[in-house]
């Protein structure tokens, strides 16, 4: 709770997401204008950032930590529709209410921009709109990949797909291009995984056990995962096991 990491950077120059977030293409003078309308907010693991339908007077970027976007039906069925990692953008310029529940699944730091001035800046600053377009197109691709997973994959393939997505993003973010077994901590509970994959938590648990039994993954505790053989995992996910990289 008093983790010193759970606080914003001093200025944009030091910011860990400076070159990946919506501000990636901004020049120094543009950054200065952004600094005027930005502020940091922190959330503890489990806290709700905003509820679907609530008015939202900011947009912003995840600086550190992980958040989820979920949709809920009246009878309680839930579907996660987005997994937000550092540098991902939250909110939609031009819309007043939040469309989805946003929940911090780990301690979270967000860099928020007051919505009105941000919208104004977007009109005046092509660098921001261009970068936001690029990020939105990436998200759309991710959502479509997710549609294939949800619509056509088996429970086992779904789990393998989720693990490979997390492994891949983790590898990209921190230790790009290392050989050997991948190791990471799952940032999601079994329940969150089930919300993501359109499964029940029991099925998630069973398939995790099955993948462990079959040597596709190794588990230490509930969350610490080792992938001894990534191509094997990708094959289990039903993906092209070949060169398989992102664009």
């Amino acid at each position: 709770m008093k983790d010193p990491k759970a606080t914003g950077p001093q200025s944009c120059e030091d910011c860990p997401i400076r070159h990946r977030a919506v501000c990636a293409r901004c020049e120094t003078d543009e950054l200065e204008k952004l600094e005027d309308i930005k502020y940091y907010r922190t959330f503890e693991a489990g806290q709700t950032v905003i509820w679907a339908g609530d008015p939202m007077d900011f947009v912003g970027s995840v600086v550190s930590g992980i958040a989820t976007l979920t949709q809920t039906m009246e009878d309680g069925r839930r579907q996660m529709v987005g997994l937000l990692l550092p540098s991902d953008f939250v909110g939609r310029p031009g819309r007043d209410g939040a469309a989805y529940d946003v929940v911090a699944t780990t301690d979270l730091v967000m860099c928020c921009f007051r919505k009105k001035p941000f919208e104004k800046m977007m009109m005046e600053t092509p660098h921001i709109a261009q970068r936001l377009l690029e990020m939105t197109l990436d998200e759309l691709d991710a959502a479509r990949e997710w549609m294939l997973i949800l619509g056509r994959k088996t429970a086992r393939e779904k789990i393998a797909s989720l693990l490979s997505i997390i492994a891949r993003r983790d590898a990209t973010l921190q230790l790009a291009g290392m050989r050997g077994p991948l190791v990471f901590d799952l940032p999601l509970t079994r329940e969150a995984m089930s919300d993501y994959l359109g499964l029940t938590l029991e099925t998630v648990s069973r398939q995790m056990s099955a993948l462990k039994r079959d040597g596709v993954i190794e588990l230490e505790g509930k969350r610490h995962v080792t992938i001894p053989d990534l191509p094997r995992l990708l094959e289990e996910a039903g993906d092209d096991a070949d060169g398989g990289m992102m664009a």
Copy 2:
């Protein structure tokens, strides 16, 4: 095949999608520049516009007709990830290959822009980038709504959801805000519906029959659908049956 409608408009001024497509915000001079790099292409129902992975030297808008975006796994499982109606945009500036199969499900007219000059124009013309961002955000919302359908709804709810989406779009496009029963022709085969919904075509057929038996829909032939009671259909879809409108 020789339908006179299956050919492009003379100029942008006459264009039926002038005010909804990626060019919606363009001024007259901007339109003129676009005219220089645009050309029309027509496709017959069933034709493939482009295969996933193929190089793509254009981007463009659907002028009339309907196309689908689908993703296919090696073993043949297929998932539709987008339904393209008039004014929808195809292709991604900055990417060389097509990410998905694009197939015309009806006779189709597309307004294509040569990719390189279009990308250049996008950098110079904020009106285009702004509109494209807005459209991409809309598509992302639609994709996320689809994730809920794919991940959490029953077969019956999925069918009802698809029918209500088509009914709603149809109503918006042509006869906005009319009272009484909605009537439309399904632009999709049972197989395409199953690809959309992550079901088999047998299940689609069974649930269509069930909805008909229960009086939720009326069918004349295989494709002509009447919705006597839209709120009832929305309830079957698991959506809020209340005011339920789009943003």
